[in-house]
């Protein structure tokens, strides 16, 4: 590997905008997002529902629906992939760039056997014969710790539990040894004990496969256990970006601070009333004036309501978009 390639981020986005054409005009789901994912890094993306965190990566994968427009730049492995034609994109997605979805119950095609769905990926992307692909499929199921892998290959998705199906999805995303795995709320549809198992599995496969990972979740607790760096999004913008440990120890943005306080803590001296964020996250159709978080922010001033804060560095590795960040 040349030094240049080594320093090149696996994924970099610049000024990504995603807008939807709606009956009443346009609405912006993602506003001016820039971020990078280095090789072997795990980046966590956190934010409430509707903050645009999924849209950012849906745009990168070319999965936006017909009435959405994406602009800006998304470079994967040095190549611009935003606006790439589907056939060109098909060479990358599913092999080098893979994604696992929130609901494993519906992400597998119901009428195809598990083995066929797994093998098909290798047949399409790597030109494997079906025989070899089936053997590789069995091997990958063992790697994602699916018991009785041989029998599972012949089963249909509805014969597997939710956790098993998510394991199959993870296995499918690993088949072609991707450079980047995007996990969009991988555990949100699963119950808590299974969540923990899936997170353990993701942690393990990430180390084994030496790949970069993006972990999208509304749950800071889920992301905290795995991510090296965390980006917090609000109303389609990045409001804070910092190394995971630093962000959790000391949040700069009042929104991040409130998010952290919302994570239930079993070790607290006594059970207190769960704090919660007042108000609702703004919709994408909202007109921007000032800081989007100002209406819910305990620290908001007149400046916040009139002038939009820009993302700026506050410490070595932390960036925040706030006029009145919490100081250490």
């Amino acid at each position: 590997m040349t030094p240049l390639a080594a320093s090149m981020p696996t994924l970099s986005m610049e000024n990504l905008q995603v807008t939807y054409a709606l009956a009443g005009g346009f609405s912006a789901a993602v506003r001016d997002v820039s971020l990078t994912v280095s090789s072997r890094e795990c980046l966590g993306i956190v934010g409430e529902s509707g903050c645009g965190k999924t849209q950012v990566f849906t745009a990168a994968m070319g999965l936006l629906s017909g009435n959405a427009r994406a602009s800006g730049s998304v470079r994967f492995d040095g190549r611009e992939i935003l606006g790439l034609a589907p056939h060109a994109l098909n060479r990358i997605r599913g092999s080098e760039l893979t994604m696992i979805f929130q609901d494993p119950m519906s992400a597998l095609t119901p009428h195809l056997r598990i083995g066929v769905q797994l093998a098909e990926v290798l047949v399409t992307h790597r030109g494997f014969t079906w025989r070899d692909a089936m053997r590789a499929a069995r091997f990958i199921l063992e790697r994602v710790r699916v018991p009785e892998a041989h029998r599972r290959l012949r089963q249909y998705p509805h014969e597997l539990s939710g956790g098993m199906r998510q394991r199959v999805m993870i296995g499918m995303s690993l088949l072609c040894e991707p450079k980047l795995l995007i996990a969009d709320e991988p555990t949100s549809a699963l119950d808590v004990t299974v969540q923990a198992q899936i997170m353990d599995l993701l942690r393990a496969v990430r180390l084994e496969a030496a790949m970069a990972m993006v972990l999208i979740s509304h749950d800071l607790g889920v992301v905290a256990g795995l991510a090296d760096r965390i980006i917090v999004m609000y109303a389609g913008r990045v409001v804070e970006a910092a190394a995971a440990g630093e962000l959790l120890r000391h949040a700069h943005h009042p929104y991040t601070d409130l998010l952290i306080k919302c994570v239930p803590n079993l070790r607290a001296a006594r059970l207190e009333r769960m704090p919660c964020l007042p108000g609702q996250a703004p919709g994408a159709a909202m007109q921007e004036r000032g800081c989007a978080f100002a209406p819910r922010c305990p620290r908001a001033t007149e400046q916040c309501r009139s002038e939009r804060p820009l993302l700026r560095s506050v410490q070595r590795s932390a960036q925040v978009a706030c006029h009145h960040p919490l100081s250490p």
Binding site: M99, A107, T109, L112
Partner: protein
């Protein structure tokens, strides 16, 4: 290929007595139409002047009686049924394949393509069918081929609509997004992930299309636009029988009864399949 997925619907179908009986009757009728004429000493064009308009019975070789020209009704009915079944089957398969392709493509691609394809479909379905068939007959002359073409030309329209509707809902499902994310091409997604998932309603509709088409063929033949003498279909036989209704009712009742039994069993089977595959649940 997907034996496991059909096991449960198969069990539900077997539990439905009406559908099982209908299936048995259908099998017997089809078997009769296919091999029945060989068991009779008569052939369909021979005129038996010693038995003109003979009553049905076992006293002579004409078990179902004969018509005004002394032709054997058993052979003619079964041969007519064979023609009717062939028309029904060919036209259904044609409408099924065209309809599924058209509907799946329109539904999956969506947007303007979908709009355009659906408008074309609406124009076609707006044509009055009888007028269309008469028109074709005038231009191309009467032939059996014409029958297939004209029925096939309209048979796929409803199928395309059904498939498009199902495709629209399947397209929204996450497994399609997952398939796109895994780098599958559009053609591959339609063939591999969409079409197999619409097969349930398609099978049900196809079973209900066959009797419709048979009935329509009979109707056209009744009007004299379909099958020509000396060939017979159930429709032409019924048309002949209708003229003799008072003097020799069996000439009408034999092919008419056969047609009624055929349509009834196909419809009951279709209903049974619909319940067994439970279209709402959809794969």
């Amino acid at each position: 290929m997907n034996v496991g997925l059909w096991r449960e619907p198969g069990r539900r179908l077997r539990a439905n007595t009406g559908a099982v009986v209908a299936l048995c009757i259908l099998v017997i009728l089809v078997a009769m139409a296919l091999v029945g004429p060989w068991f009779s000493p008569n052939n369909m064009e021979a005129l038996d002047w010693s038995h003109v308009a003979a009553w049905p019975g076992m006293a002579h070789a004409h078990w179902f009686g004969t018509d005004r020209l002394g032709r054997d009704l058993f052979v003619r009915t079964l041969d007519g049924a064979r023609v009717s079944l062939a028309v029904g089957l060919v036209a259904s398969v044609a409408s099924l394949s065209v309809g599924v392709c058209y509907g799946a493509v329109a539904g999956y691609l969506g947007g303007r393509t979908d709009q355009l394809m659906m408008r074309i479909l609406e124009i076609l379905s707006g044509l009055p069918l009888i007028f269309f068939v008469i028109f074709l007959t005038v231009i191309l002359g009467r032939s059996e081929m014409l029958l297939y073409v004209s029925i096939g030309a309209v048979g796929w329209l409803t199928m395309a609509r059904i498939v498009r509707g199902r495709t629209l809902s399947i397209r929204q499902q996450e497994f399609i997004e997952a398939a796109i994310a895994s780098g599958a091409s559009t053609a591959r997604i339609i063939i591999r992930h969409v079409v197999p998932n619409v097969l349930g309603p398609v099978i049900v509709y196809a079973t209900l299309t066959v009797p419709q088409i048979i009935l329509f063929e009979s109707f056209l033949s009744f009007l004299g636009l379909g099958i020509q003498e000396p060939r017979a279909s159930l429709g032409t036989l019924i048309a002949q029988g209708a003229g003799e209704m008072e003097a020799a009712p069996w000439i009408l009742l034999v092919p008419g009864g056969f047609l009624a039994l055929l349509l009834l069993s196909l419809n009951i089977l279709g209903d049974g399949l619909r319940d067994a595959l439970d279209v709402k649940e959809g794969g």
